[in-house]
């Protein structure tokens, strides 16, 4: 069936081999993630043995109360939130880069993080709750509302006639500057106490993790992923260029709007929980692209795994660098991640981004 006229060996076989190699890479990333999460749970200011921690995880009934609280109520939510947030931000970045045909697109560069920071600062500095009913969750809810507002603004503008991918990106950058200016203004008038709260929030941190936050981020991932998966072929085709994709029958404009909406959800919620960890949204997808290419069937899970591994490993580092202290994770991602990222891009030297 697959015999070519000249009798050359069929390329289908070579392709099957490529697919097998990609599955191996995905399995490897999963193993790496499991390992990183295990180390993350085992590490912390209270120095427990690895065996004790494992026993507490698998047999919580037999562990002493203090240890159970530390492992189950503090370390596990933190470690798992790193996974869900890393995966969400990376998936959001991957799809933004895909639909906007730009390697720099991410929740960070389109102003979502800046908007979230502004919303959070509004709560911390002025005590303004955008939804007064939930005053206890004022900070994350404000952050979410502003991030959603920013992305809906971009979403709305991109439905206008004649708005191109380039315009959307320029608008995003304009949003970054506007929200940063507004944030600076708030900080200028803030009390010292509020100021330090804002600064700490914008550094990004997993220390406020709870099971509730883990559940919310996991549910959003569970809803968005299959919706993207259903569009895997169309999303991959968009990377061949708009006209080419349209010629293949992809409803480019509609797909872009759909994806932009899902991306907004995927990015806004994690950012409102953990603050600014913008870097993941750029690096995760690029790592996945270098390892797996851009066939979305592999690229999508790859980006999620890469983002989760990076954030989880960063969480480990943030505890390991200064014993007894947990450094803000946003700082570590940038400090450790950037050189690693630069090395990755420069050594690969491929023409595709």
């Amino acid at each position: 069936m697959a015999v070519t006229s000249t009798g050359t060996p069929t390329m289908a076989l070579a392709y099957r081999g490529l697919v097998a190699r990609r599955i191996v890479v995905l399995v490897g990333l999963t193993a790496l993630l499991l390992f990183s999460v295990a180390v993350d749970v085992a590490l912390g200011p209270a120095r427990y043995g690895v065996g004790d921690v494992l026993r507490t995880i698998f047999l919580p009934g037999q562990a002493e109360l203090q240890m159970r609280v530390v492992v189950w109520d503090i370390r596990m939510p933190m470690a798992l939130l790193a996974v869900t947030v890393g995966a969400s931000l990376s998936l959001a970045g991957a799809q933004m880069q895909t639909i906007l045909a730009n390697p720099l697109a991410s929740p960070f560069t389109l102003g979502l993080s800046a908007a979230a920071s502004f919303g959070a600062a509004l709560a911390m500095v002025l005590g303004v709750a955008l939804f007064p009913a939930a005053i206890a969750l004022m900070v994350p809810i404000n952050a979410f509302a502003m991030a959603m507002a920013a992305s809906l603004l971009i979403f709305g503008l991109s439905t206008l006639r004649g708005v191109t991918v380039e315009t959307i990106i320029l608008l995003g950058i304009a949003l970054v500057f506007s929200f940063n200016a507004a944030l600076a203004l708030l900080q200028y008038f803030a009390s010292e106490q509020a100021l330090s709260a804002v600064v700490f929030w914008t550094m990004g941190s997993l220390t406020k993790a709870t099971w509730g936050k883990v559940a919310v981020t996991a549910v959003i991932l569970a809803v968005c992923t299959p919706l993207f998966a259903r569009r895997a072929w169309a999303l991959t085709a968009i990377r061949l260029g708009e006209t080419r994709a349209a010629a293949m029958g992809v409803p480019v404009k509609r797909l872009r709007l759909e994806a932009l909406f899902l991306v907004s959800l995927l990015a806004a919620v994690p950012v409102s929980f953990v603050g600014t960890i913008g870097f993941i949204g750029i690096v995760g997808p690029h790592v996945a692209r270098l390892l797996l290419g851009e066939d979305q069937r592999f690229f999508m899970p790859g980006a999620m795994l890469a983002g989760a591994v990076i954030l989880s490993a960063t969480s480990v580092l943030s505890k390991a660098i200064l014993p007894g202290a947990v450094l803000p994770i946003g700082i570590i991602t940038a400090l450790v991640g950037v050189p690693f990222f630069a090395a990755l891009i420069l050594t690969k030297g491929r023409k595709s981004w």
Binding site: M1, A12, A237, A247, G293, S352
Partner: protein, 253 residues
């Protein structure tokens, strides 16, 4: 046999009319049809209008095929995606199908289109590493892998060397013969048109000036009104009609 006819179709960008009441007799499949015209004559617009990417008045009549059997290949543009040639062709095949699974027959279709256009050796190369000509050959394979019955190709040979131009046009001609497909090619080289295309459609200023058998359409008068060039169409020593350019027409308004 498939055929394509245009009835008074028009298209506009904003307020500018790019196509006005373009009509053709039915163009039947089985051989190649050329679309000729100067730059900005509306060739790409006509293709996009036929492919349904642009709205406008008038009707495109297909017989022996539906809109799903139609494929349009846009003019060559860079491809920066991190995909191999093989993956990019699979992609064209899987649009609309949805399933993540690849069947043996789908892979066989990819293999056969690679062989048909002589690019089996490029299968594992990354798109971004291809030269302009190779990219064009890959585009053609992407377009034909679904075995469309109506094909619109915007300058499919513009980046190819002489040998590859011949090879690609020959492969397209064979494809048309085998499948009875209508293949409409926007081409600039009129000698190439005379050699390979049985039918020619001439477009100028958004209007169709002529549409019919190539040698009847491509007269010195028509060529002058299309391009502002004085020319002769003569038989070469082996009997093939050739166009010889004499120079710009005296009064080009």
């Amino acid at each position: 046999m498939v055929s394509l006819a245009l009835e008074q179709i028009s298209a506009r960008y904003g307020r500018r009319d790019v196509l006005t009441e373009a009509s053709t007799p039915p163009i039947s499949g089985g051989s190649l049809t050329a679309l000729v015209g100067a730059n900005a004559a509306g060739k790409s617009t006509l293709f996009r209008r036929i492919a349904g990417q642009l709205g406008g008045t008038g009707a495109v009549h297909l017989s022996g095929a539906t809109e799903d059997d139609l494929r349009y290949m846009p003019q060559d543009t860079a491809m920066t995606a991190a995909l191999s040639v093989y993956e990019s062709i699979i992609l064209a095949l899987k649009q609309g199908a949805g399933s993540w699974r690849l069947l043996g027959e789908e892979l066989a279709a990819v293999d056969s289109v690679l062989a048909r256009f002589g690019i089996t050796h490029l299968a594992e190369r990354q798109l971004a590493e291809l030269s302009g000509g190779q990219r064009q050959a890959v585009s053609i394979a992407q377009t034909l892998v679904t075995r469309p019955r109506v094909v619109l190709m915007d300058e499919p040979t513009s980046a190819l060397d002489l040998y590859r131009q011949y090879e690609v046009l020959e492969a397209l001609r064979i494809y048309a013969e085998e499948t009875g497909a209508v293949i409409l090619l926007a081409l600039h080289d009129l000698n190439q048109v005379m050699r390979s295309c049985t039918t020619t459609m001439a477009l100028s200023g958004g209007k169709i000036l002529a549409c019919g058998p190539t040698l009847e359409v491509l007269t010195p008068d028509l060529i002058r009104s299309l391009y502002g060039i004085n020319s002769r169409v003569e038989r070469c020593s082996q009997g093939c009609p050739m166009m010889i350019v004499d120079g710009p027409a005296a009064s080009v308004s």
